[in-house]
């Protein structure tokens, strides 16, 4: 019911993102969703991958500062208003979304939404109560 997201600290330095992607690619870790949040001097890369434990170990071995975070992932139809339905649930139940990112999948024609909720358990509970299907790690690791 929960997804392991990997966050990596990235300096705003040329080639750094490439190094990271090449490392994962070379070791057959597939990135399912990815977002980079940046400030003037540094960035935080967040991603959902199919083999999180392997990815973490690889990153650490190669000098990246990385950590795992539990997030909620939801699959929604790729149609107008689908995202709003989910966000409204959080809003009406006072769940604070720290950040989120979305990914349109070409194979299933659905969109993958990834949410970081301040109170993870509360977020999970309200989504389930509202009949939203959460993606599990197994589905991603396929």
């Amino acid at each position: 019911m929960e997804i392991t997201q990997i966050s990596v600290f990235l300096e705003n330095r040329k080639g750094r993102l490439n190094e990271l992607c090449s490392l994962l690619g070379k070791n057959e870790v597939n990135i399912m969703a990815l977002t980079v949040a940046d400030t003037e001097t540094f960035g935080v890369l967040r991603m959902v991958v199919d083999k999180p434990e392997k990815a973490l170990a690889l990153l650490k071995e190669n000098g990246f500062t990385a950590r795992r975070t539990s997030v909620l992932a939801v699959e929604v139809g790729n149609d107008p208003g689908d995202l709003a339905k989910i966000v409204r649930i959080f809003d009406e139940n006072d769940a604070n979304v720290e950040y989120m990112y979305a990914f349109a999948q070409t194979i299933t024609d659905k969109a993958l939404l990834v949410f970081k909720i301040e109170d993870f358990e509360h977020g999970k509970k309200i989504l389930l109560e509202n009949g939203v299907t959460l993606i599990s790690m197994n589905e991603i690791s396929s």
Partner: protein, 420 residues
């Protein structure tokens, strides 16, 4: 001169022995009878005083006068822990006025000239030191203090001072602002600049002289001795005249403590021959200079010291403020409880002002997934630095292992400023 110095040293030795508990103990420890110091040549028998002594005796134990006889107190930043405190009796304040007046005269000031003092006023000795000297000499004082550059320029245009006193970097920064505002600094009323509190290379001097069309003369001093007024360049700009009748200079090998031959580089050591509040004997300035006793082209016979060529410690001077890497380490230790890897990058901006960037390696322990947490960490480091260093520093979080390590030890300071 030697007779005068000898008499003063003999009197000083007795005075501190009788009045300063610190020196009483120090001379007893070394088995030196104060009466045995008769000539200035005997000075080599006296022990050195260090910045650590000042710190250990914080705040007033080094003073030779009860506190109620002290007229003014100045404080400079310490390394870690306590700052250094200097107490001035009324006689010391009169001495300060005299020596700074000498500096002003040396640089070509005349009674009746107007001086714009753009050194900070307050615990820092720059502002008040120049103020007292200018008062003594009969100048018209514009006590601007540092900052408010546009206002400085406005009053400079309206009042037409002949002399500007500030840090060399601020002089450049003011010129930059003037040009931006469409004022030609070369057309200003200024003729003389008295610049100190931080090193000024010959190329920086040339730039200031060119931008302002003035004569730029170096002033030297340190708050432990008196503040500005220890030595001053004359219009020939060939070394700084040190007022050896009151501040007796020695140049020593910092490792052995022995004097170096004339003209060679060594650490400047100063004895305050006539101070009464917090006199110091053989104070190790940690500034590396050379000294000559040849008579200057201006006719003055006082010894002259070179510009500061380096430091015996790792102190940096940034915008006139003393910064020790250990202070920064101390702050970082306080924040994260683990020893972080850090590096200081010092550079000079185009407007002449120095800036300092502190790069801190992020550790897995402090790495948060949330940007706001990381920004909070940056902000916290920045705020702590500002309160400890009285200086705003840029803080930049970097990835582990990115800070260059030589022989396993991280290189703490990268100074990209043009060499002195």
């Amino acid at each position: 001169m030697k007779t005068l110095q000898s008499g003063r040293l003999a009197a000083l030795t007795k005075y501190i022995y009788n009045n300063s508990p610190f020196y009483h103990e120090l001379l007893d420890r070394d088995g030196i009878a104060p009466e045995s110091i008769q000539s200035i040549d005997d000075i080599v028998r006296l022990p050195f005083t260090t910045k650590n002594d000042m710190r250990d005796n914080y705040p007033f134990s080094l003073f030779s006068t009860p506190l109620n006889q002290i007229g003014e107190i100045h404080v400079s930043s310490g390394t870690t822990g306590n700052p250094t405190v200097t107490g001035y009796t009324r006689e010391d304040l009169a001495l300060w006025s005299t020596v700074v007046a000498r500096c002003l005269g040396c640089a070509g000031a005349k009674p009746g000239d107007m001086i714009q003092i753009a050194y900070g006023y307050g615990l820092f000795t720059g502002g008040l030191g120049l103020h007292y000297g200018a008062l003594e000499m009969g100048l018209t004082i514009l006590p601007m203090s540092a900052g408010q550059t546009k206002r400085q320029l406005k009053l400079m245009q309206d009042f037409k001072p002949r002399i500007l006193a500030c840090t060399p970097s601020y002089a450049l920064s003011m010129a930059e602002q003037a040009i931006q505002d469409g004022i030609d600094p070369r057309e200003s009323s200024l003729e003389i600049g008295i610049f100190g509190a931080e090193p000024c290379s010959e190329s920086m001097r040339a730039e200031i002289e060119d931008k302002w069309n003035i004569l730029a003369a170096d002033i030297y001093g340190l708050s432990e001795i008196i503040g500005p007024g220890v030595a001053q360049e004359c219009t020939h700009k060939d070394g700084l005249h040190i007022f050896s009748d009151v501040f007796y200079p020695e140049i020593i090998n910092p490792d052995t403590g022995s004097p170096v031959p004339e003209g060679e580089d060594g650490e400047l050591v100063i004895t305050t021959l006539t101070k009464t509040g917090s006199p110091l004997i053989r104070y190790r300035t940690r500034d590396i200079v050379s000294m000559t006793s040849e008579t200057c082209k201006c006719g003055r016979t006082s010894p002259r010291i070179s510009k500061i060529k380096g430091r015996t410690d790792d102190m940096l001077i940034i915008r006139g403020i003393n910064v020790f890497p250990s202070q920064i380490e101390h702050v970082l230790l306080g924040i994260e409880e683990t020893e972080p890897h850090y590096q200081l990058i010092v550079s000079r901006r185009e407007n002449g002002l120095d800036e300092i960037e502190i790069q801190v390696e992020i550790t897995p322990d402090v790495f948060s997934d949330e940007i706001k947490q990381l920004e909070r960490l940056e902000g916290k480091i920045k705020a702590e630095m500002a309160s400890v260093l009285s200086l705003s520093a840029k803080v930049r979080l970097v990835e582990p292992g990115t800070i260059e390590r030589s022989m396993g030890k991280a290189k703490r300071v990268i100074d990209n400023r043009p060499s002195q």
